[in-house]
Amino acid sequence: MMLNWAMIPVTPEQLSPKLFIPDKKGSLQIEMMAVPRQYGILAYPLAPQLADLLQEVSAGHPVLVFQNLALSWYPQWHYAVVVAYDLQNRAITLHSGLEAEHRIPLSTFEHTWARAGYWAMLALPPGNLPATAEETRLMKTAAILENAKHPQAAIVTYQAALKRWPDSLAARMGIGNSYYALKQIDKAGEAFYQATIDHPHAAVAFNNLAQVYLEQHQLNKAQNAIQQAIRLDGESPVYRETEAVIRKETDRQY
């Protein structure tokens, strides 16, 4: 249901082998987070607060929640999607099982939600940011998307993040690394270069830029960039390694 909302045509039958554990008669939260990214969808874990959940719902984002419908010593674990709420009547509407509109008192929902650790997540199409997004939390989910072979979706997320947090080093580097993963070296270089301008004290930016220059056979520029990285952070063995590779390549040329 969440994926359908995010414009991904997929049936429960297709999802079942990716999610269901027969002996446990259910699905793990970690795998609920893992499946959307296979479709290039951002899976974002919400902070465990009712206020955040409601804020997302009013922003038009359906929220997947984990509930224990029964009792702590006799659990009945359950996933549902919060689709609406009504503060005046203190009620909340869930898409629960086959019921499209399961309306229950907010307090009942809070009890069932609290017993499952206030767990909630969003599944958003790339470029849509959570209304309650925190920078680090968002960057982590975007990096996972990047590593899950969806660098294109990750780039869109990083770009949206830069609009909200123009000073985000992780977002700028994420764009570069995603283009690098897509083997679009020139675009990766542009992003790393911009990172060195916006964050002149970030050694990683100079290191990754040096690597791109090396692959573009601009050895002088590569040398300068890696020297700057080492000046900023002499401790990291990674930068020394980059330097060694660049030096080897320079020696080979002459």
């Binding site: 082998p17 990716k18 269901f20 554990i21 027969p22 002996d23 446990k24 008669k25 259910g26 699905s27 793990l28 939260q29 970690i30 795998e31 893992a34 499946v35 984990f66 509930q67 224990n68 419908l69 029964a70 006799y74 659990p75 009945q76 674990w77 996933y79 549902a80 099982g97 086959l98 019921e99 399961h102 229950i104 307090s107 009942t108 009890h111 069932t112 499952a116 960057m139 990096a143 996972i144 990047e146 590593n147 992780a170 580097m173 994420g174 690394n177 995603s178 990683v204 290191n207 990754n208 040096a210 690597q211 090396l214 692959e215 990291s236 063995p237 990674v238 390694e241 980059t242 590779v245």
Partner: protein
């Protein structure tokens, strides 16, 4: 006897995997090694990655094994583990037994004692639980 054999077997397996990991690393193109990944930038760490890689590698095998032993088909288990990040694999490794698994269709309470049925009926009425769709909590 069986336990020590198993331990020995595990040790051999682990050493073999470590060896394989090192061989794989040696064959990796040198030029690739120098990029610092977004993950590392967020976590602000760029060293001791080798050890973590080996641990993640072993954890993956473990999680796949656990999924299979809980009734997931071999190929599905492989695909599912491949789709997890290292951190997620670490969270699952050795814990699939204890972790709660939720269903999306409200399952019938098969085998529930009458006592539990009554307790849940009452707590449903009080609005503390939400098991039976025919019960509407009193306000």
């Amino acid at each position: 006897m069986f336990v020590t054999m198993k331990k020995f077997f595990n040790k051999v397996c682990i050493s073999m995997m470590i060896l394989i990991m090192f061989c794989l690393n040696i064959q990796m193109p040198v030029a690739q090694a120098a990029i610092v990944s977004t993950d590392q930038i967020i976590q602000q760490q760029s060293h001791s990655m080798e050890r973590e890689k080996i641990i993640a590698f072993l954890d993956r095998a473990e999680v796949q094994q656990q999924l299979q032993s809980h009734g997931v088909a071999l190929q599905d288990a492989k695909d599912r583990v491949a789709n997890l990040s290292d951190a997620e694999v670490q969270m699952l490794s050795g814990k699939i037994d204890q972790l709660p698994a939720g269903a999306s269709a409200a399952g019938a309470l098969i085998g529930a004692a009458v006592f539990i049925f009554l307790v849940l009926l009452i707590t449903d009425v009080l609005g503390v639980t939400d098991v039976f769709s025919f019960v509407h909590p009193v306000r």
